[in-house]
Symmetry: C2
Subunit: 404 residues, 2 copies
């Protein structure tokens, strides 16, 4: 029996389930899983690089392993745009997915939690426990929404540093991260050179390029033009009431840039998903179903306002701002650095990591550069952990020995 023909050109029910929450942010009453929380501001307002301020900041974080007696074995892991503190560990209430770097962080793994004390915190402006747009604005008693100030990567790093100091960590053995996580890694090196013994910025850039800004910008446009965005005030809307269509489309755009034509061709080719409707305007190919799946998945765990704030912070990322330019900033880094490219990464192309390497070594610094030959695209920094592991293990061991 064939399905009845769709009655309109666009059949929304097939694409957009109606039960999606108004926000995927961690909200009061949700299970917190293995997160812990630290108020890092201690009553003093936190002034932001862009000019605003936050009266109070809570940081959600997770840790693995044990801090040794002289606090010398701590590794900070920094997450990417839609990541959170759950870098390692299984699915559990509060953690709908396995840790995003689970293969890399754990007992006996490259970032060995039998040996190191590993910390990962949700970024400032995020939506998984750290103060962000879904948090309650003390001035109004309601979620910040669009009143949340614009933050930068430097603000995120400063919040991490406040957390580190409260955890008793004076110096990280290493700060490690990919993509936006790598932006934080580089800023750690520039802002707190004496508080990091080594840096591992992966699949990242010293300054967002025009093309990277372009992608972020259209993703954000798709969110704010969703009529349910309501200028950022949607937290009280019922199921289906938030700007999740816009966020879903934004994620679908991003998802294409995260992978490669090679992977998509091999995995999906021209296969039809809605096979009884090959020629129907809204009959989907497999690749479309895949994108819809990823869009819907993000909407259930992320907040549209956080996407706007954090994505813009990436566009604003420029290691050279106020430091005489990118080359000068890179050239001053003196700790050992490991950077790596994924050969098929079209969003953070290998030339950007080569530039990081060249900028550091031109200044007399110490940088190892690895190219991982892989078809996985930008997501390779998550998926190729088996090949990223050995050089990461090496630089950590070297940092342990270095008695700088």
């Amino acid at each position: 029996m064939a399905d009845p023909p769709p009655t309109s050109r666009f059949d929304p029910a097939r694409r957009f389930p109606t039960d999606l929450p108004p926000t995927g942010a961690l909200m009061p009453g949700d299970p917190v899983g293995s997160r812990r929380f630290m108020t890092v501001t201690d009553g003093r307002p936190f002034a932001l690089e862009a000019g605003g301020r936050l009266d109070e900041i809570t940081v959600a974080y997770e840790t693995w392993g044990h801090l040794d007696i002289d606090a010398s074995n701590a590794v900070l892991v920094c997450h990417a745009l839609t990541g959170d503190s759950h870098a390692s560990g299984g699915i559990a209430p509060g953690h709908p997915s396995v840790g995003w770097w689970n293969d890399l962080i754990g007992p006996g793994r490259a970032i060995d939690t039998d040996r190191y004390f590993v910390v990962c915190s949700n970024v400032l402006g995020g939506c998984q426990g750290t103060t962000g747009p879904a948090s309650i604005n003390p001035a109004t008693g309601r979620p910040f929404g669009s009143d949340f100030p614009q933050v930068t990567i430097r603000d995120m790093v400063r919040a991490q540093q406040l957390l580190a100091s409260r955890l008793g960590i004076d110096r990280w053995l290493s700060v490690v991260g990919g993509s936006m996580g790598g932006m934080q890694v580089l800023e750690w090196g520039a802002m707190y050179p004496r508080r990091v013994k080594s840096l591992v910025p992966l699949a990242t850039t010293a300054a967002a390029s025009a093309t990277q800004i372009a992608w972020s910008a259209v993703e954000r446009l798709s969110i704010v033009t969703d009529p349910n965005f309501n200028d950022g005030d949607y937290y009280d809307a019922g199921p289906g009431g938030g700007p999740w269509k816009g966020l879903m489309i934004g994620r679908e755009i991003a998802q294409i840039t995260y992978r490669s034509a090679e992977v998509f061709d091999e995995r999906f080719g021209r296969a039809h998903h809605d096979y009884r409707a090959e020629f129907h305007p809204w009959g989907r190919f497999e690749i479309e179903s895949y994108l819809d799946h990823h869009g819907q998945k993000l909407v259930r765990r992320f907040d549209a306002n956080s996407y706007l704030v954090v994505s813009k912070s990436m566009d604003l990322h420029d290691l050279g701002r106020g430091r005489g330019g990118v080359r000068a900033a890179l050239g001053r880094l003196r700790m050992p650095v490991l950077t790596a490219s994924i050969s098929s990464d079209v969003l953070y192309p290998p030339c950007q990591q080569a530039d990081i390497h060249d900028g550091i070594t031109a200044g007399g610094g110490d940088c190892r550069y690895e190219v991982i030959d892989s078809p996985q695209g930008h997501d390779g920094f998550l998926l190729e952990s088996g090949r990223l592991g050995p050089p990461i293990r090496e630089i950590l061991e070297r940092a342990e020995k270095d008695d700088v």
Copy 2:
């Protein structure tokens, strides 16, 4: 004096002017410029590959040069997704832009209008004079809107063939086009092998890839989720009433895929457009202003429903459908073919044109393959006409001499 600070996170007036028309389609009463019109159906309904039918089809077309006495000097030029019949010629009422291949088509140019009779018609499903979603549905007396049936590249080519026969052109000296135009070129070779003496498919593919489908799909999603889309019935809406936000965002996505990181970095880098608002969430970088400009420009000259229909026809493009696969279809082509790649094209990557070449020659056919080394990306097929000209001139001259 600084501007007053924007009052909301998203300041729509800066991005979205309010005077945009509900549709950019050519509407009754608009100046037609140098277009001519031909009803090609003669009272017989036109059955579509996807299963629908159209009772009447009008084709809008333009011509340059003179048809010789034995109709042996005719060249068909096929346009891309948002192109139209104005391939050559200046700005005039009805033609807001210079012809899209003006440097290639004209007196003394590679496609020499002193020598050849050149025809370019707006595609079936388009919005610049040929029957499409903005046309009046004879069954209702109102624009088709979403009732317009899905068309395919093969339907477009069959409509062109009806036009050719009414113009007295039994055989084209050559059929030439890039991108979606190149899809039509290949279908001409497969559908009407005795009606074409040579083919010039540029920066195109024999079948849309998963990644190409992915981009088209998110562009279409951005249109249909615009609340002003109204299931395709927006032609009576006043200024600002159509789904132009969705179409604008769709175009911005597409525009990024049409160029290259190299061009964007060199032209825009990290320069700010809204320079008093560098850190403001909606302060734009130059690249964003550029994208907004292109988005707004398209909205004034294109119809959202046409975008949906024509973009989907590209996803459905598969030269091998019903022909035993792409390789078999290519291997049967017997006329001389010239194909070309733009080295930096990320949307129609060079491997796709190499596949066209390989498929033709593997079957014993005659195919020349040129790679234009250029940073312009996919748009290089429009911008590098100076370098595409000589090989095109050559294949036309050869087709003139061939007495097949």
